[in-house]
Amino acid sequence: MKALSFIAGRALQGLIVMIGVSLIVFFALFLTGDPAAVMMPPEASRAEIEAFRHAMGYDDPILVQYLRFAGGVLSGDFGRSLRFQRPAVDLLFERLPATALLAITALLWSSLLGFVLGTVAAVRQNGAVDFVIRVISLLGQAIPVFWLALLLIIVFSLNLRWLPSGGIGTAQQLILPSLALGAYYFSAITRLVRASLIEVLGENYIRTARAKGISNFRIVVHHALRNALIPVLTVQGMYFASLLGGALITEIIFAWPGIGRLAVDSIQTKDFPVVQAVVLFAAFTFVVTNFLVDVAYVFLNPRIRL
């Protein structure tokens, strides 16, 4: 019963967040200026701009526009892209597979490698190997993605000519963008696994296990890792949700046709409906992932049951 009300409470919180996001998305865009003036070419006369504004409904009271927007969203209609003259939702879902592919690849390699290196570093705490891994993971988190992406292109495409500089379609084209995108998560996961494992390894039950004469390998794999992974999985869920919202910089530099590029192009051209659809979608993925993680906790970890 308690678990049920906890889940219901979380769902309600998610709903409130979504309403809040929709309000912010809607009003913030209008605060930045007049879409009609941007969408029309510079040579357009005032009368032509006015006619466009009226046709798009931008001259209605802002509350009317919001209610129309919210009503549309609930029925799956985010309006039509001003640039593409197509439903914003179609544009979003067309680009979702590309973004998902990049996100999954980046998360996969960064998790696997981060997990292995994090474990090694924790077991060899304060040793030379640990030091090297810590430096690498610090660099990975410190290097800005736009710089890393360009560096990868210059080294692997321009100088070595091993990999294509961008685009989508072949496995080779996936390597550089997923490397650039995953670098940060790899570092974050390495550090998290290391810290979490070191903490668990200091617990009493590990000491007990050691006292019982269990091998070090068995202690780490069977006893410590299982507990150390709970925070790591939570963080990965969050990373995945944020990656699904599109990797803005990576997608632009590598000409990757995903949601992030759509978002940036739409912001630059004030394509309101698309921006709203992308931001709401990103928020929705986040809220849903968060909710699922919370629900999973209820079943996985009895201590969280309130």
């Binding site: 495409s157 321009l158 590598f254 590029r261 759509l262 630059q268």
Partner: protein
């Protein structure tokens, strides 16, 4: 006899695969800085690079930018407000539909229909109607004398579209799967990835030499140049100034530099506000700018300092040398205007033009040298277009006339008081600008257009800086010199593979 026939057959058998093979091999990949969103020439919200290759206009421009016959055999004014076009016979759209006078009427009617809200309506705003005389003759009427009408029929939005196809699939579908009469047929469009075209073998000017064209969107400058240098692309648009030397030095690629192929960048002045309402202040600002220094040092010579907004390729161009850099004179003018100690003023710029932030910074420093404190602000383009041209009071903008190659496009919108992009308020200019739009006789019109530039040089309603060059990159085996109107007609590109 039998032997001869057998030999001939064998020869033919040998020849056919060879010619097919060359046609298949000749393909080109063009890297663009922007993604295509839609390809309906009547409702375009982006550069016409792709539709330029799929559609034809009634009038065309040759490589010397002269108006020549396109889908129209000939044209002439019938009276002050009517132009008659005689159309080519036997031209077909890619889907087999016939090109005729009805297609011309349909094309223009769908743009000038107020309910259609065409974003490119302003380009043909003067057109009031189209009348079909017979299948090979149309008359286009304007709401006043319009000397530029044939020019308006030389580029989008007046690319001729097939009426039956557009009506049956609707505007949205047409924008995704365009059908024209042009040298290339549409094959595939995947948003944010590419547009693929293939040669139209029945093209009325003869089949194109390049068989397949892929336009790829590569938004990042470094990635675009890399794609060219590694052979992923054969031709790229907008080479960043900083990366131009990399293209120049490459053994595999060449830099294509089209002198005066870009926009003319200027500093707009909100003239109504003090102290910019004072001619001497404007002249002082004008003389304080070291245009040559900026072009040589910041833009690496890839622009030309100018004294007029009109481009040398434009009709009505008057050569006016750029204002000489003379800080001493600028200081003197400022003192005469009553500002011996200068003043402080805000200047806005954006990220849109070649090295714009660096240029703005250099100018701010040069203004500082004559005692004017500049409060510099750099805004993102999407925000900038909301601000400019109003707040300023000094703002950087680039303006061009590639659409028409006529001085009118270069000056009217930014110098006529009351126009959305104008902060100029000079009655003398207004009178001349209005007059220029009423004259049909080319010689008389050219005179007025040149007079406008003279007056502008005297009254300094804005500070013309320089005209950017257009920078393209091409693989060694691509033959194309670039055009002042910024088109990339694949039909005219040759490959030497």
């Amino acid at each position: 006899m039998k032997h001869v026939r057998a030999l001939l057959l064998a020869a033919a058998g040998l020849l056919i695969p060879v010619s097919l093979a060359t046609a298949q091999e000749s393909e080109i990949t063009i890297g663009r800085s922007v993604s295509t969103t839609a390809m309906d020439p009547g409702f375009l919200r982006e550069a016409a690079t792709i539709v330029d290759n799929v559609f034809d206009t009634l009038v065309m421009r040759d490589e010397n930018m002269q108006l020549v016959s396109g889908l129209a055999e000939s044209w002439k004014p019938i009276d002050d407000t009517t132009w008659e076009f005689k159309l080519k016979k036997g031209v077909k759209f890619h889907n087999g539909e016939d090109f005729d006078a009805e297609a011309v009427k349909f094309t223009i009617d769908r743009i000038i229909d107020p309910a259609a809200n065409s974003p490119t309506l302003s380009y043909i705003r003067t057109v009031s109607g189209v009348e079909v005389v017979d299948p090979e003759t149309v008359r286009i009427t304007t709401d006043g004398p319009d000397p530029l009408l044939p020019t308006r029929m030389s580029r989008y939005p007046t690319y001729i579209v097939p009426p039956d196809y557009v009506k049956s699939v609707g505007n949205d579908e047409f924008a995704r799967k365009p059908v024209g009469t042009g040298p290339y047929e549409f094959v595939e469009f995947i948003p944010d990835q590419h547009v693929i075209l293939k040669a139209n073998p029945d093209y009325w000017r003869g089949a194109p030499s390049i068989g397949k064209v892929t336009f790829r969107a590569i938004p990042d400058g470094t990635a675009r140049v890399t794609a060219l240098l590694t052979g992923e692309a054969d031709f790229i648009e907008s080479v960043p100034v900083d990366l131009a030397p990399m293209v120049e030095q490459s053994p595999d690629a060449d830099l294509v530099l089209v002198k005066n192929g870009g926009l003319t960048v200027y500093l707009g002045l909100v003239m109504k506000e003090a102290p910019l309402d004072d001619l001497k202040v404007r002249q002082a600002l004008d003389a304080a700018i070291d245009r040559k220094g900026i072009v040589d040092n910041i833009l690496r010579g890839m622009a030309t300092p100018k004294g007029t907004q009109v481009g040398p390729a434009d009709f009505g161009y008057l050569e006016i040398p750029p204002t000489p850099y003379d800080p001493a004179k600028a200081k003197k003018l400022l003192a005469e205007a009553g500002y011996p100690d200068g003043f402080s003023i805000k200047m806005e710029s954006t990220h849109r033009y070649m090295k714009d932030s660096e240029v703005a910074q250099a100018i701010a420093q040069q203004f500082g040298d004559i005692g004017i404190q500049v409060d510099q602000e750099v805004l993102d383009w999407s925000v900038y277009t909301q601000e400019v041209p109003r707040p300023g009071p000094i703002y950087m903008l680039g303006w061009g006339s590639t659409q028409t190659l006529d001085a009118d496009a270069a000056v009217y919108a930014i110098m006529r008081s009351g126009e959305p992009y104008s902060t100029v308020d000079v009655p003398e200019l207004d009178a001349l600008l209005d007059e220029s739009r009423k004259i049909v006789d080319p010689a008389a019109r050219e005179k007025v257009l040149q007079e406008i530039q003279k007056v502008a040089a005297e009254k300094v309603p804005l500070l013309t800086l320089y005209q950017e060059d257009a920078l393209y990159g091409k693989a060694r085996d691509v033959v194309f010199a670039g055009r002042p109107d910024a088109r990339i007609p694949v039909y005219d590109i040759r490959l030497t593979r």
